[in-house]
């Protein structure tokens, strides 16, 4: 039976698909190869977020004092003349469907879905190239009513 199935001629993907995937992979930034366990995934971004907030506070204080380059307020009296940092925000989200469960007191099942998102904001000072990053992770378990067949 398996041989018979394998023998059947399949529809083939077009050359356009190869070109689209090739373009996609060429344009994409490299993906970090390190594997992180789910626990680390939850902990590490929060640590990064913590350090991000600290860095953001430090930058705000430095900006108030006169700029990213550590010069004193007297050396750089006009804060307004310093170009504003460039802000880049990116968000990654994944939703993975989970198992069907029955909630207490409910007759219809619900499907769990594991939602994860990471929002990363980068501020880059165009003059000094100093940069800080703020990473805010979010993780939720969603309950979606399942269709009964």
């Amino acid at each position: 039976m398996e041989d018979q199935l394998r023998r059947q001629p399949l529809r083939r993907p077009g050359v356009q698909l190869d070109e689209r995937i090739e373009a996609l992979l060429e344009a994409a930034p490299e993906i970090a190869t390190r594997n992180e366990s789910p626990v680390r995934w939850r902990i590490v971004p929060w640590m990064m977020a913590g350090s991000g907030f600290t860095a953001a506070a430090a930058v705000a204080v430095m900006a108030w004092m006169g700029g990213f380059d550590g010069s004193s307020a007297t050396q750089r009296p006009m804060i307004a003349s310093v170009p504003a940092p460039v802000e880049i925000t990116e968000t990654w989200t994944t939703v993975e469907p989970g198992e069907l469960i029955y909630l207490e007191g409910e007759s219809e099942p619900v499907r769990t879905a594991h939602y994860q998102s990471v929002q990363q904001t980068r501020w880059i000072d165009p003059q000094t190239r100093a940069r800080i990053e703020l990473t805010i992770p979010d993780e939720q378990v969603l309950l979606i009513p399942a269709e009964a067949y």
Binding site: M1, E2, Q4, L5, R6, R7, Q8, P9, L10, R11, R12, P13, G14, Q16, L17, D18, R20, I21, E22, L24, L25, A27, A28, P29, E30, I31, A32, T33, R34, N35, E36, S37, W92, T94, E96, P97, G98, E99, V118
Partner: protein, 168 residues
Amino acid sequence: VTVEEPCVKQELAGIYVEHRQGLFTLALSIVRDPERAQDAVHDAFARLCRTAHRPTGDLTAYVFAAVRNAAIDICRRSPPGTVSIFETEGDSPEPSPAAQVAEHERDQLVRRELEKLPDAQKQVIMMKIYGELTFEQIAQSLGEPLQTVASRYRRALARLRETMESFV
């Protein structure tokens, strides 16, 4: 910190080259439209390229899972088409030896019965037969226990076999 090895993009490219047909067939079995099946494969790779870190576990299984999810997402936006995963006679680039009447009918029957299988069984067949994944990879891809996947595969084959025997 820049990690030099191994390059995930190269791994993804390798998986695409090796499993291109299987990924497309899996997507086509869900969306039943060649254009949208290609969109599903593209969407899945686009999502993978946006991933911040290499997914844990078997990357091939992860890619198949991503394509399946992308295809299901497409079907949520608009209903699936009616196109089969198999080439029709007219699409075939050269006459098949199976053109003899009995063989031809057997082929038609097995294709029809495969299309009639429940989605869960059909997707296991797609991944195993046309994606050439192991049961472990399929289980990981579907997020199901290994035994469930293996028995689903056996049930699907048994059902096809029964139909074929009744034909003979």
